[in-house]
Structures are given as C-alpha cells and as structure tokens.
Amino acid sequence: MLNLKILKQLNYPLLIVTLTILIIGIFFIYSASYQITLVTNAEINYAAKQVVWSIISLIVFFLIIFFLSYDKIKLFTYPLFIVNIVTLLIVLAFGSERYGAQRWLSIGGFILQPSEFAKLTFILALAKLLSYDIQNHKSIWFIIKPLILSFIPIILILKQPDLGTTLTFFPVLFAMLFVAGASIKYLSILLISGVSALPFFWIMLKEYQKNRIRVFWDPNMDPTGLGYQSIQSKIAVGSGGLFGKGWLHGTQNQLNFLPKRYTDFIFSVVGEEWGFIGVCIVLALYLCLVIIGLYIASKSKDTFGKLLGIGISIMILGHVMINTGMTVGLTPITGLPLLMLSYGGSSVLTAMISIALLESIWIKRKYDF
C-alpha cells in the first residue's frame, strides 16, 4: 500500500531545486549535442536519453521514498558496501575500457559505472561506522577506523584510474569526521600527514594523471593535447561574458571546439551560452541544494541520518567545486561529471538516490532510531 501522506511530508524546496537543475541539464545537453543530433538525423539524441534516465531516476527516487526509508537501508549498509567493492574489483578485472580508463560495467545492455555508486555506499558505510562509534569520538580510533574503511574504495577507484571520483572522497571523509566530533588535534594531524603524503600519492599516479596535473599548472605546456581541453573550455566560458551568447548559440560549443561537452564539460556550455549570470544562477541552485542538505542533517534527530545528510551534501559540493572549477582552470581536469547537469545514467541515478536519501532523512527527522 502506498502511503500517499508521505508526499505531503516531502521537503519541496529540495525537490524543486533538484528538478530545476535536472531540467536545465537536459536543455544544455540538448545544446551541447545539437550538432551530433543534426549530423546523425537524431539517431543519437543525448537529451532524449537523459530524459529517459531522469524518469528512471525519478521512479527510483519515489521507490526509495515509499518503500525504502534511509533507516531500512541502514540495516544492509555493510553488505551494500561489500557488493560495491566486489563490483569495483570486477570492473578492474573485466570492465570495458573507455577513454583510457576502466570504469564501466555492462549489465544486460546497460553500461554502469560502479564508482559512481561507490560514493554513496561509502557515505552510507562511513555514516554507520561513525554513528556506532560516536561515544568514542575523542579517541584516535574514531579517525583510524574510517580511514581504513575509506582506503579500500579509494585505492580501487584510483586504480581504474578515476582521479576525479577519488578526489571527492576526501572532503566527504573529512567533513563527516569533523562534524561527527572527531578531535581537532587528530584531524589536524591527519590533514598535515595527508599533505606530507602527497609526494607518495604522486608516485602512485599514472603518467597521464601526472600530465593532467602538470597541464593544470600550465595549460600552454601542451596546447593541442591535454591543455587543449583546458584552454578551449576557458575560451568558451570567458567568451560568454556577462549575458552569454544565447542557448544553442555558443560558437565554441556548436563548432565542436569543446571536448566532452555534454558530459564532464557541460558547465563550459552553460558559461558560454548563459554567461556569468547563468553561471551564478546554476551555482546558486547547487548552493541551495547543499545548504538544504545540511539543514536537513541538522534537523535530524538520528546520528546516522545527520552524518548521512552531511556526507551527501559535501559529496554534491565536491562535485560542483571540482567540476565547475576545472572549466576555468581552478582545479585540474579530472573525469568527473557535474551531478544532475552532465549527461550520464549512473550519475543521474546516483544524484537522485542521494536526493531521495536526503528527503527520507527529512521525512523521518523527528525520529531517533
């Protein structure tokens, strides 16, 4: 039986902001793939595909709202985490390689990206671990246990290699530890040792990842290769000016100068066609999402719910910062989609499940499990 009363309890600002971003995303995917759609006589229509993915994601969203509140998910958090680790291992062993990285797994015609879901299962597992351990929050083990938990997916995803997704784990881990009450002293030590471990991290990187970071410092080092994306994206965003060139009128976009423009670089298209005003609107929408997420976390009476809400909000924030930052050369270019705006089934699905979990926390905010 559907309990329709739940609909009344939804956090509507969160839902409306989410849907707005999704719709803006579909419009820009349409614009970014307009030339491809024209050339292939609409045989390849990414905007239409994204609509389908959005509908599927909305169905999943409501399934979670109606049947699977976050406290039920909490019960099988660890099995979910382990299943996800196994799929990551399978991807490494058998996954299909695209753009020089093994990230995809095809199941019955669907191509899934387990690293996308790993972000969620990781946050769930971390929230559960921390909430059970909360009374020892001043202990050093309160930090060390989550660290061990995090390192399993981080290593696996870095091996794929997927630098962007790996990067989102760190702010999430740090913010969740911080809010959960970890000792500032130990956190500082962690931060300092993390920074001093960077050279070792550098050694672990593959050559192309190192190059990406080198090019990040100086895009002109390789203007037609790696630096090309960085330079073209900056030109796109910069030439948008205050008001932009208008939807479907971005020359950098429509003339194919922007690579990966309907996935990772969708925000460059926003910047070019809607200008600084459009950039501010979209960034403001994401900020609303993050603040609402944090508000929901603060209103929840349940420790697990609070930490889950924080984790999801920071994950969204991490995506926004890393992805939009790379379109203007603020952050290195990593293969990270912009949640809800970029084209891609796994990414939309992850985003909608995240929002559904936030809604679920909101609905049950008065309960303490």
């Binding site: 910069g238 600084f276 944090l294 910062m321």
Partner: protein
C-alpha cells in the same frame, strides 16, 4: 537505543557548532569559485571573446589565375593549370597524431617523414595560415589522400592555379619566369595586395607585365569547426583573373629561329622594319621556365643560376658586344652626310693602314685594291673605312650613332635592357681617364674598340636603314585584353627617332648592303635565297688575345630589297666569321619566311 542517548545529546550541541564552521568553509570556497568565474567572464571576457573569434573565423585567400600570354596569332604560350598542393593547418593537427599523420603522408607522397614533421612542428609562422607540405602531387596521390581523409585531420589538398609554359623552353627569354616572393620582398609588397604564398614575375613579360598579369586576390571568410573544416561561408569575394597579354611574336618564325641556333650560344632577333614589331627573339642557351613552378627542381634551378653558360641572360638585350663591321654602315652614313665621302671617292687597300707608327690591318691581308663605298661595304674592306674614319671627328660618329639609338635603351618591353656604349671624347675622359686618340677613331670606324652594342640596338638600327630613317621602338606587346575580352590597352607603334638623312645617301648604303648578299663576292652571300632580294652586312669581332682569342659573328640583313618587310639580326658567340656562320642562318630564316609568306598569300587567294 538508550545506550547512545547521552552521547546524542552531547553530539547535537557539538554538531550545531561544527556545522556552522563547515558552512563558513563552504561559503568561502564558493566565493573563490564565483570570483574566478567573474575574473574569466567579466574581467578578461573580451580577451577570450577574441580567442573564440580567432578559433572559428578564418580568412582564406583565393588566388587569381594569372593572365595568359598569347602570340600574335592567338595561340597560347603561358597558361595556367591546377596544381594540387598538400597543405597543413598546424592549429588543427592534434598533438598525439602528428607522428601518425606524418608517417601516413610520407608513404603516400614519397617524401621523408622528417621533413613533414618539420613542417607540422614549425613554430615561427603566421598563425592560421596553411603551410605547404607538398606541391603539385599527382592524381593517384590526390585520390589516396582524399579517400583516407579522416586519417589526416588538419591536412587539406588545395587546387591552386600554377603557371604552365605550354611549349617548355619556347620563347623563354621573352616570357621570362615567375618565382615565389621572399619574406623580405613580402614586407614591401603586401601593401600592393600580395600574400606571402604568391608568385611574382621575375623576368621577361612575366616581370614587365606583372601589374596586368597578376589579377586581384579573392577571399572568403569562413567559419570552421575544430578540425578546420568549413562550417559556413560568411562572405566571399571572387578573385579577378589577370589580364591576357598578346605578343607580336610569330610562333612559327620563333620556332624556326630557335631551331637554327641548335646548341650555339647567341641571339637572334627578327623584326618588321615597317612598324618595329618583334616577330621573333631568341637567346641561347635557353631554359624551361616550368622548373621555377614545379617543386623538387632545385637542382635544375641551381644549375641554371650558377652555370657559366648564363642560361638566364637574354643575350638580345642584356649583353653588349662591339658591333664590328656592322658599324661600317654607320661610319659610311656619317661620312656621306658630312660630305667627306661620295661614291666617286676611291681608296687603295693594300691590306694595311698606317697612322704614325701604328699599323691597322685589313681582314684580307692581300688587300682589296682600289675600292669605293659600294665595294667597301660589299667586301667589308677595313682600310677604306680607316681612311673614311680618319677624315671624321669622333663627335660626328658619336652624333650619328646616337641618332640611330646606340648607347641608349631601345625601350623594348622587357626588363633589364642595357644601354651599351656609344663612346666620345667626353665618355673616354669620364670612364677611362684619357682623352680620345686618333687611333681610337680608326678602331671605331670598323666597329672595334670602345663601342658596345646590344643585338636589339642593332636590330633597330637595321630597321631604320631598311625603312628609310624611322627608328622604331621595338614592339613586343601587341595588346592587353581582359578575361571578358575587352581590350584594356594597346601598345601603339612608337618612333624613337626620325633620322634626317638624304634619300641619295640611303640609296648608296642600300646598294652596298644589297651587294653584300646578292653580289658573287659579297661577304654575306650565304644569306642569299631564291625568290627574294636581300641586303645585309656581316661582322666578325675578335675578343681576347692571341691564344685565347675567340671570334663572335654578326649578321644583319633585311628583305625584300624593294620594300623591306623583315629584318634579321644574328649574333653567334665563338664562331669563325659573320659570313660563314651567321649569314647562312639568316638565309635559312629568310627562306622559311618566304615559304610561309607564300603560303599565306596562297591562302588569301
């Protein structure tokens, strides 16, 4: 549940505090993000707008077809054909594909991969101007590249009109050649509408008529996509083809003239004495101007530039020689006009002429005996002219030589014509630093010494003798016609000088010259042809001393005697004498002309 309650209460207070810190961090990093977007889009927006424009809008120059060059009968001498050139837009070549592209192209084009890579990696260049990888590829290579085009991003094949000299070496010194402009020339020429990839006339008609031949560049502004392929044409201007040049050259005669010279070095000029039209003009050895257009001919170009044979020098206008005995006619005219000579004056030739202690020899060491002006021209007797010259002042000879155009450019429609030397007392003081000695006049009176002339000057002088005193400017260009068929300019017949000379004296000179060819003992009797009466004068000049001495041969002649319509000047380097080497060639040409004229008359009837 109760187990955590205490902890939760504590935690809730802590949480609220830390979440506020978190929000401050978030807003701070958001501030940095927005600031960066403001900087890129607003503060530096115009810079990036410029970049975006550069990215997508390119100007493409369309080269105009060069004007064609025709002969007098309208058959084509210099045409254009398409040359398929492989070009690279370096900005459009992906970095990781350079190796692959250069390898693929090197296999198709048969050029070393290294040189292709070098072009692709050029750093000092004008941005967004294509660079040439290979020129004038053949049709097989063209189709191979077109079929596998997606393998070669940034590479384009462009059909560019190039010069095609249909008959190779034919009339090469008249037509000249074209060459690519150099970067230093470009800085001066760009204001005149030239582009760095243009060719410019370097010599001959190509050079002189450059302004008419080049036409105007067209252009297109195109919007391109990231691979450099045209997406949209924003605007275009058609090129204006260059105008066509019609020459006075008679191709059949020119061909004959070139064939008679074979491997001899020298020059031949055939003119129409009635209007100064140049019917044929050749200089040997000659060259094939096509090599300056075709790629991979640098070895041949080097050979042509460095050879001692001076392939590129148009000997008809750019080399000066003593006129030798051809000048005797001028000395005779001077003396006749000054009144120091008449047909009744006889001088005795015993093979030698004494001037103080100096001895001047006649070419015929046994002497010609008692000769008058007619005999002297016929036999080309030196002693007679020593005597005549001795009674003249150098300034008179100088004046009459000047009247006939010596020492001055004739103004032929070709470049780099030289003036020659018409010496005088002042000239010698100025250039040698000595005054004029009587012995110099003796030498001058047989065309040796300081006097230097070009074959074209001799041809003009010959025409003036043939037509009774009109010194025409040699006419090589007949008209200039636009591609639409409209006559842009004509080249009217121009008389450089009207020579004031009595008919009686003309008759004397003409009679002497007629005997050179027609008389049994005339020095130019080998120029005689059936069906025509011709006149002429031979000349042999000695260059160098003793062992190294070489002779150059002159012959000048016109026909028919009653009403001259063809004048021929022949100069042959390293020959025996004018009579044995040059005169028979004149005969051949006259014979051919007569045969051709006969055919033309038959056709008209």
């Amino acid at each position: 549940m109760a187990r955590y309650r205490q902890a939760d209460e504590y935690f809730t207070n802590l949480f609220e505090g830390r979440i506020k810190v978190l929000i401050i961090i978030i807003l701070f990093s958001y501030g940095i993000l927005i600031f960066k977007f403001w900087k890129v889009q607003i503060a530096e927006g115009d810079v990036y707008k410029g970049f975006a424009l550069n990215n997508r809008i390119r100007s493409v120059i369309i080269q105009p077809p060069r004007g064609k060059i025709f002969d007098s009968e309208g058959s084509i001498l210099a045409d254009n054909r398409p040359s398929f050139d492989v070009e690279v837009m370096i900005e459009d070549v992906p970095n990781d594909k350079k190796e692959e592209i250069s390898h693929g192209l090197s296999e198709i084009l048969n050029i070393p991969q290294k040189s292709i890579l070098k072009t692709i990696n050029l750093s000092r260049r004008v941005p967004y101007v294509p660079e040439k990888i290979a020129r004038d590829i053949d049709i097989c290579q063209l189709t191979e590249i077109q079929e596998t085009r997606e393998k070669f991003p940034g590479i384009n094949v462009q059909a560019i009109p190039v010069r095609d000299y249909k008959k190779g070496k034919f009339a090469s010194h008249i037509l000249g050649y074209i060459g690519k402009i150099s970067p230093s020339e470009y800085t001066q020429l760009k204001e005149k509408g030239y582009y760095i990839q243009d060719y410019i006339g370097r010599m001959g008609i190509e050079n002189v008529m450059e302004g008419y031949l080049k036409g105007e560049h067209g252009g297109m502004q195109i919007q391109v996509d990231n691979r450099g392929y045209t997406d949209k044409i924003l605007g275009s201007k058609d090129p204006v083809p260059g105008s066509d040049i019609y020459l006075t050259i008679d191709s059949a005669l020119q061909e004959k003239v070139e064939s008679v010279m074979q491997d001899k070095s020298g020059a031949i000029i055939v003119m129409d004495p009635r209007n100064g039209n140049v019917l044929a003009l050749s200089s040997t050895p000659s060259f094939d101007p096509n090599i300056f257009v075709k790629p991979t001919q640098s070895a041949q170009i080097n050979k042509i530039f460095s050879s001692k044979k001076k392939y590129l020098i148009n000997r008809a206008i750019r080399e000066q020689y003593p006129p030798g005995s051809t000048f005797k006619v001028l000395v005779a005219i001077t003396a006749l006009e000054k009144g120091t000579l008449s047909t009744r004056d006889y001088y005795f030739c015993n093979g030698k002429f004494y001037l103080g202690s100096l001895v001047f020899k006649c070419w015929y060491k046994y002497g010609h005996g008692n000769v008058n002006i007619i005999d002297a021209i016929r036999y080309s007797c030196n002693v007679f002219f020593y005597n005549v010259g001795h009674r003249l002042k150098v300034k008179d000879i100088h004046k009459w030589a000047d009247q006939f155009g010596f020492g001055k450019k004739t103004g032929i429609d070709l470049d780099k014509e030289i003036e020659g030397v018409n010496p005088s007392n002042e000239w010698k003081k100025r250039n040698i630093g000595e005054s004029w000695y009587p012995g110099d006049t003796i030498n001058l009176s047989i065309g040796q010494g300081y006097m230097l002339i070009t074959p074209i000057q001799l041809a003009c002088y010959l025409c003036a003798i043939a037509n009774g005193g009109l010194l025409y400017k040699p006419r090589l260009i007949d008209k200039i016609v636009s591609t639409s068929g409209e006559i842009i300019a004509t080249n009217p017949v121009k008389v450089n000088n009207k020579i004031n000379m009595s008919d009686k004296n003309y008759k004397i000179i003409r009679q002497g010259m007629a005997e050179v060819v027609e008389s049994r003992y005339g020095t130019g009797s080998k120029a005689r042809v059936k069906g025509f009466t011709a006149s002429g004068k031979t000349g042999t000049i000695q260059m160098g001393f003793k062992e190294n001495q070489i002779n150059h041969a002159w012959f000048m002649g016109f026909a028919p005697n009653e009403a001259p319509e063809i004048a021929i000047v022949i100069f042959i380097e390293n020959a025996v004498s004018g009579g044995t080497d040059a005169a028979p060639i004149a005969g051949e040409i006259l014979d051919f002309y007569l045969y051709k004229r006969g055919k033309n008359i038959a056709k008209k009837d």
